[in-house]
Symmetry: C2
Subunit: 677 residues, 2 copies
Amino acid sequence: MTNDPLVIFTPSGKRGHFPVGTPILTAARQLGVDLDSVCGGRGICSKCQITPSYGEFAKHGVTVDENALSEWNAVEARYDEKRGLKKGRRLGCQASVQGDVVIDVPPESQVHKQVVRKRAEARDIILDPTVSLYYVVVNEPDMHDPSGDLERLTMALKDQWDIDGVSADLHILGIMQPILRKGEWKVTVALHQGRTGEPPRIMHLWPGFYEGTIYGLAVDLGSTTIAAHLCDLRSGVVVASSGIMNPQIRFGEDLMSRVSYSMMNAAGAAEMTNAVRAGMNQLFDQIASEGEIDKTLIMDTVFVCNPVMHHLFLGIDPFELGQAPFALATSDAIRLNARDLGLDIHPAARTYLLPCIAGHVGADAAAVALSEAPDKSDDLVLVVDVGTNAEILLGNREKVLACSSPTGPAFEGAQISSGQRAAPGAIERCEIDPVTKEPRFKVIGSDLWSTEDGFMDAIATTGVTGICGSGIIEIVAEMRMAGLVDAPGLIGSPEQTGSDRIFLDGRTHSYMIYDGSADGGPVITVTNRDIREIQMAKAALYSGARLLMDKFGVDKVDRIVLAGAFGAHISTKHAMVLGMIPDAPLDKVTSAGNAAGTGARIALLNRAARTEIEATVREIHKIETAIEPRFQEHFVNASAIPNAVEPFPILNSIVTLPTATFNTGGGGDGGRRRRRG
Amino acid sequence: MTNDPLVIFTPSGKRGHFPVGTPILTAARQLGVDLDSVCGGRGICSKCQITPSYGEFAKHGVTVDENALSEWNAVEARYDEKRGLKKGRRLGCQASVQGDVVIDVPPESQVHKQVVRKRAEARDIILDPTVSLYYVVVNEPDMHDPSGDLERLTMALKDQWDIDGVSADLHILGIMQPILRKGEWKVTVALHQGRTGEPPRIMHLWPGFYEGTIYGLAVDLGSTTIAAHLCDLRSGVVVASSGIMNPQIRFGEDLMSRVSYSMMNAAGAAEMTNAVRAGMNQLFDQIASEGEIDKTLIMDTVFVCNPVMHHLFLGIDPFELGQAPFALATSDAIRLNARDLGLDIHPAARTYLLPCIAGHVGADAAAVALSEAPDKSDDLVLVVDVGTNAEILLGNREKVLACSSPTGPAFEGAQISSGQRAAPGAIERCEIDPVTKEPRFKVIGSDLWSTEDGFMDAIATTGVTGICGSGIIEIVAEMRMAGLVDAPGLIGSPEQTGSDRIFLDGRTHSYMIYDGSADGGPVITVTNRDIREIQMAKAALYSGARLLMDKFGVDKVDRIVLAGAFGAHISTKHAMVLGMIPDAPLDKVTSAGNAAGTGARIALLNRAARTEIEATVREIHKIETAIEPRFQEHFVNASAIPNAVEPFPILNSIVTLPTATFNTGGGGDGGRRRRRG
């Protein structure tokens, strides 16, 4: 038995006996307690703040008296005076053990802080990025024992932080010597620590103790938009979020048209590579400006994207992705220097691309898998991420299946006669009165319905400009529920529907949503062709999900997670009315928001998540829809529009479909329905 | 006991029993016999040629009959027809074991070929470069089990060559897919394999079997000249050698003037970095053109240079090297991508810089140590490498000391009144008749002495233009031996010397070597200031060597190796007359030629040599001449010029020095000589 005082840390519960005079930081390190420190215990960084608890702790069997820690010292007093120390707090590197003591490590003093996610059901992120800061004191050069400044710096990291085998980026060699001297041989090092076996790499140096922070970017590189989150790598907090249109759009709206562009033009792929990289730099400038940070403090980047975007961003011609067998150039995760992609941030910044799952199932799907973790789910979960392509995952702890389905850009408002991207002025919500067949709608930029007072004033600057993706989905669903469209997708005549908003438009009918022509504005209608586009898109989506269910050998899923545009903008109710997704109880359908972006953020903030998702992706079973006859079969069967779905009562109907239609997934074939087991 | 036939390989002597039908290549691999193969035994590359021996082998206890190997097959016949197979040769991958057999592996079939060095005493180089070629057959993509082309390629390297953890350069991703398809899933891979733990990296791909070779460059980056050897990495042969002036010369002739330039000009270091990198690319273009090769086939580069050149080449301001404590930015070896230095060769080419020993003792000295291996010498060897700076190594198996001495550029013809670089027209050899005091000389570009018939015709195109480094050394030594210069270094008057070639030139005398003024040519003289320059330079060199001897605790060395300009151009006899180097029996003084360049070539051709020299350099004791009082003392004592050295009889003398002067090392102080123990 030792007579040394007992030190107990909360919340970890770790405990040990330490000689009188041991600094709390030292005790924490020896016990493996997660207590932060950048300066290594020199009383400079104040990251190691702890709260001693006094009194009797029956469950620990200790009594802590007021002399349990050394007295408040000059370093703590100076820090308190300069920056203010919360009442009851001590600096772990200054306060030393004098008697039995219980020490609480507050969340902000933990190295591996929990970054809390907004959704209740989602796991928090443990902060452990690839780039961290270390303060070191470096030996001065000695002519009698000559060695390079870099070698003495790496020796300091070894001696003071137990980090071995450190190397340095070439640009560090160019800037290191004046910095070491300016800091009088004390420097703060930004160190990249990648996978096991990958040598730690010095990315940046600041003279003396660097008070600031460093940043990373989680980027969702979509076919249509590029969205980025700027994260503080010391706190895990999102400092700014920003997005731009993908400049590749001028080469083609959807993926296949861009692949075609590269096939038709010798330098096409290179042009698109240049365009997306230039766009990326523009976005980075924009987000750095919004976050009011120096963009050279951005030291890590994580990208998620579909395979075509992935290849074009890396400078790979996506030719092979345009034809069977859809061979990816590379499917594994990619680690490289950001500068090799022409990214103009910190010169030593790193880039990580999540692995691709298959030729049509990209790093974005991998990111969704990382965020939603179907492989860790006890019940069977269907994860659907809708962009220009839909990524679909189905699985549980036993196995996970994945596929991609070419929904096309209709869900994003493209290829729709009055369609437009989600921007102020676009119709995003719609309701159609089943009796009067009159619509009311909301446009982006106003919370008022079009029928409410003040609507015209509220939208005076933008006007009503078109219909965005969520708008067209609601409109088509509402038209079906109002009896303006039949199950096979034909808009009825004014006579059949009893609506004077319906008019003959060529060989089919159209429905007038809004007529702004009196004020020189647009006439916004929904044509039968628009209905067809939405039918094709939703059939593709539904068929993919149904195919995975077939492969899994199930007829229903326990829960559905909607990610991407779905969660953010598309109404779950209307999606189910349209038959975009298989049926499930509404309380088992949750929205994950931009799950791909969240996956990117997880990979940015937690380096273990990278190796984790790489292992997960290797285990995912890939299903190629293009070679599955059942996919075509499901597709044909899924093009009809059911007119209601539990728990929404059938409001009006021209064709009444058998109930079975709804139970098996919203697909219908206008009467010639085949059931599958 | 097995009944399987016995296979014995020569010259290795390795042996083992193998089942009938085992290909010889397979047997060799299993026994670890060094038998080359690029195609992995597919009968394509023909690198695995072997020669079976028949008859009775008493010492091995086997008799080999003519049926010991399988019959000559169609693959061998086709190769013989297309390319010709030497009589008696078989392809190791085709010929299989049928009975006891003795197999000789000819030198050209060994993977780790010996690259023979010209000098008898030098160790041969074992060919084992960092970049090698491998032929693989890659699985085709499969939609049912999707994986990236790169992943299937790396799997092929694992399965077919047992090379694990292979990654690829970004540019490979951009070019790989068409190459795999063009080669119908058969490709030749150029693979970089660095240190243990460094993942092998795909640098290049050729469709099908690549019949050609790949190259590397060993570069000696000197203050004055940059010299490169272009080596075939498959054979180790030097394909071309070329050199250019270092374009940094416009910023200053010697190292310290370049350091000053960087101190005086904000962008000075960057200017010099750009200049040397541009020069490097010019040299590479030149050598590729001379070698008649495509320069993108250059995949590896090794550089040796002094610390200032090292820093400027890497883009590091050499500021700190210009002042005590002469701190290097980094002393360890550097491994990086050639493109990061702006080198325009293969896009994935690698660069290796040998480690520096100290602030004044660079990677060039390390290269000399690698080439001359004082650390492996049984007797005590002094290695002296003269460039603008002199690198000096002294040691044996027990320990090695190193220092650098600032000889300045006089030995290269700079700072000499009629001095010039070694180029056609420069006086490079000289003899002065001790009786008549008349000189005769040779100029670069002609083998005739100036006194021989036809000399003027032979030099008609160049004329006599000046005196190069080796010339001035010979002239000063000859002047001393002819009694034109006294031991302290003063040129005598015409009266004292009895030579009408001596004339009053300001306050001192000069000696006329050549008067071409009648033909509009130059008047070439040696001034007393020139003598002083040579005295300073040789005193610096001698003092450095003497300092190392003091530190080693010895008064003489067993042998001397002269490297650099010495071996190539400077006469050993005259160097010893001048007292540039300590005394040693002439048969113990050898010339190593460009040892730094050779060291670079060794590091290029043998990757183990890199880790070896890195370990050696860590063990070398560095002596900083600038802080050694004894260096100054030696320097003062060494400025005098002895007038002879054994075994050269004293021909003429103004001041007769005690014999001790010559025995202790050629230094003299004009009578006030102090001896050291």
